[in-house]
């Protein structure tokens, strides 16, 4: 190591600290509040859309923001949303994989729509069909579609986030659209 080098070492064994003491060494409380206000609904809805389980989505949201609280200071400024979505997708993946047996035995959960009470929903059924069809996509397709079409991320951002080549993301999106087309037809026939 060069003399005076910028070696960073965080010793977790410095004793018990209160949350307020830790905030300065982690993420500022005000910054956390801002990010929570800005993205908590996105994280919650993304998790719910992925898992179709409200309780699990709330658990994911909680886990994601606890991680933000404790490790958020390491996030590159301007990349907060990408970080939050990456952690959200990873949490959802873990839960989805962990619950495979339950899905096999009890069947996959159905996405219940939770519209705002004061909103007038036009063409509700068509929109509901689209939502359910996206939710029925295989997990790898679903997360790619959600990140691009729901969260508005570009292919390169998604590739970076999921640690996959851009070609793989493009291919997944293409196959997801084909699969979605089939699922939408099935939804219509099921009416």
């Amino acid at each position: 190591m060069k003399p005076g080098g910028s070696f960073v070492y965080m010793d977790k064994r410095q004793g018990v600290k209160t949350l307020d003491e830790n905030v300065s060494a982690q993420l500022g409380a005000a910054q956390f509040e801002t990010l929570y206000e800005q993205y908590a609904d996105d994280v919650l809805r993304m998790a719910y859309f992925y898992l179709a389980d409200r309780h699990k989505a709330e658990d994911v949201c909680q886990d994601v923001f606890v991680k933000l609280y404790t490790h958020g200071h390491t996030i590159e400024p301007g990349r907060e949303k990408a970080w939050l979505l990456r952690v959200t997708v990873n949490c959802c993946r873990d839960l989805w994989r962990g619950a495979w047996l339950k899905r096999v035995v009890l069947g996959a959960p159905t996405l219940e729509l939770i519209p705002s009470q004061d909103e007038t929903i036009e063409q509700k059924e068509e929109k509901a069909e689209l939502m359910r069809a996206v939710n029925k996509l295989p997990a790898a397709f679903r997360e790619t579609v959600l990140l691009q079409y729901y969260q508005g991320l570009g292919i390169s951002e998604i590739a970076q986030m999921l640690n996959l080549p851009e070609g793989t993301i493009s291919s997944r999106l293409s196959r997801a659209r084909k699969k979605l087309s089939v699922l939408l037809k099935e939804e219509e026939q099921g009416e």
Partner: protein, 324 residues
């Protein structure tokens, strides 16, 4: 009639159809409470540090006396200088490296502490979780502690990453084992210079860390290497898996899961006594699968478990056998 054109409107549609779903104040309060609980690290019981420190001091004395006998004129002031002056080649046996596919290439490192290293073949009965290097083990160092790369997972999920604990200050494909300065800083022979080294959620950074290697976030487990052992740390410091074990597999013996696995690990962490600062050769392995899905491993030789240091614990093997 629904078509794929509406997919472009998925954002507004989803926000409309899920508009009643909000992360409310109740959830924010729960997050603050959970963050507070996570922010408070457990106090380390002194009763485990005292015997560990005594054992470390005893081991250091033994090494010093041996070196003085063999070398005759070895300097006395600094134990590390005494070791460096010792001309005899000292074998430091690593955990047999690599996953199943790499098993044939798994080797035992033979190093003289003057700075040369080579690999000799070794056989391993238990499947090793450690990645193999062509010469030196694939490693990163954090604050002087050495961590060896695991063969799996190939890419640890972001959800498992903790805060940054170090940075690779120096990349060297063939690091000198005698360069204590390089080992003390962030050194790696696989991760590029400037790479951030992260803690792993649920594990002390003295147990395992993660760093990006060739575009993938890889896990590194703390090991003894080049005379760098546990220092004054106890086994639990370098293997902090208490209460989070899903599965415990002792190769050639059997497997414990759930509560039985956790109970056996409790016995190990409560009773292990440092036998040697350097890990020794072993054919058996103890593979620990954590609730997070991560797997860590200790080598086994007789009643000794080897990770960062060799730890004698006959009580653990008795408890393991009884629980089978």
């Amino acid at each position: 009639m629904n078509d794929l054109k509406s997919l472009d409107q998925l954002g507004p549609i989803a926000n409309e159809m899920l508009g009643g779903l909000h992360a409310d104040k109740r959830m924010r309060l729960a997050i603050r409470r959970a963050a507070e609980a996570n922010a408070a690290p457990a106090r380390r019981p002194l009763r485990r540090l005292v015997p560990a420190a005594c054992c470390a001091a005893l081991a250091l004395m033994c090494v010093g006396v041996t070196a003085a006998r063999l070398g005759g004129n070895a300097p006395e002031a600094n134990p590390s200088v005494m070791l460096a002056a010792e001309p005899a080649v000292m074998a430091i046996d690593t955990i047999a490296a690599g996953d199943g596919s790499d098993a044939a290439a798994a080797g035992t490192l033979v190093a003289d502490l003057g700075g040369n290293a080579m690999v000799r073949r070794a056989e391993a009965d238990g499947e090793s979780l450690f990645a193999a290097g062509e010469g030196d083990i694939p490693l990163v160092t954090v604050n002087g502690a050495v961590y060896q790369m695991l063969a799996t997972p190939k890419d640890v999920g972001g959800a498992l990453l903790g805060g940054q604990v170090g940075t690779v200050q120096h990349h060297d494909a063939q690091p000198s084992l005698a360069a204590s300065d390089a080992l003390s800083a962030g050194l790696s022979n696989v991760a590029a210079e400037g790479t951030a080294i992260y803690a792993i959620s649920g594990l002390a950074e003295t147990t395992a860390v993660a760093a990006e290697v060739d575009g993938s976030m890889r896990v590194f487990q703390r090991v003894s290497y080049a005379g760098r052992g546990p220092g004054g740390l106890g086994l639990e410091d370098t293997f902090s898996v208490r209460g989070q074990v899903k599965r415990l597999e002792l190769s050639g013996v059997g497997t414990l899961t759930g509560d039985a696995a956790n109970a056996a690990i409790d016995v190990l962490l409560d009773h292990a006594v440092l036998k040697s600062a350097d890990a020794t050769a072993r054919r058996q392995t103890l593979t620990v699968t954590l609730d997070s899905g991560l797997r860590l491993q200790l080598g086994v030789s007789g009643d000794t478990l080897c990770g960062c240091g060799g730890w004698s614990c006959p009580e653990f093997f008795e408890a393991f056998e009884a629980a089978l």
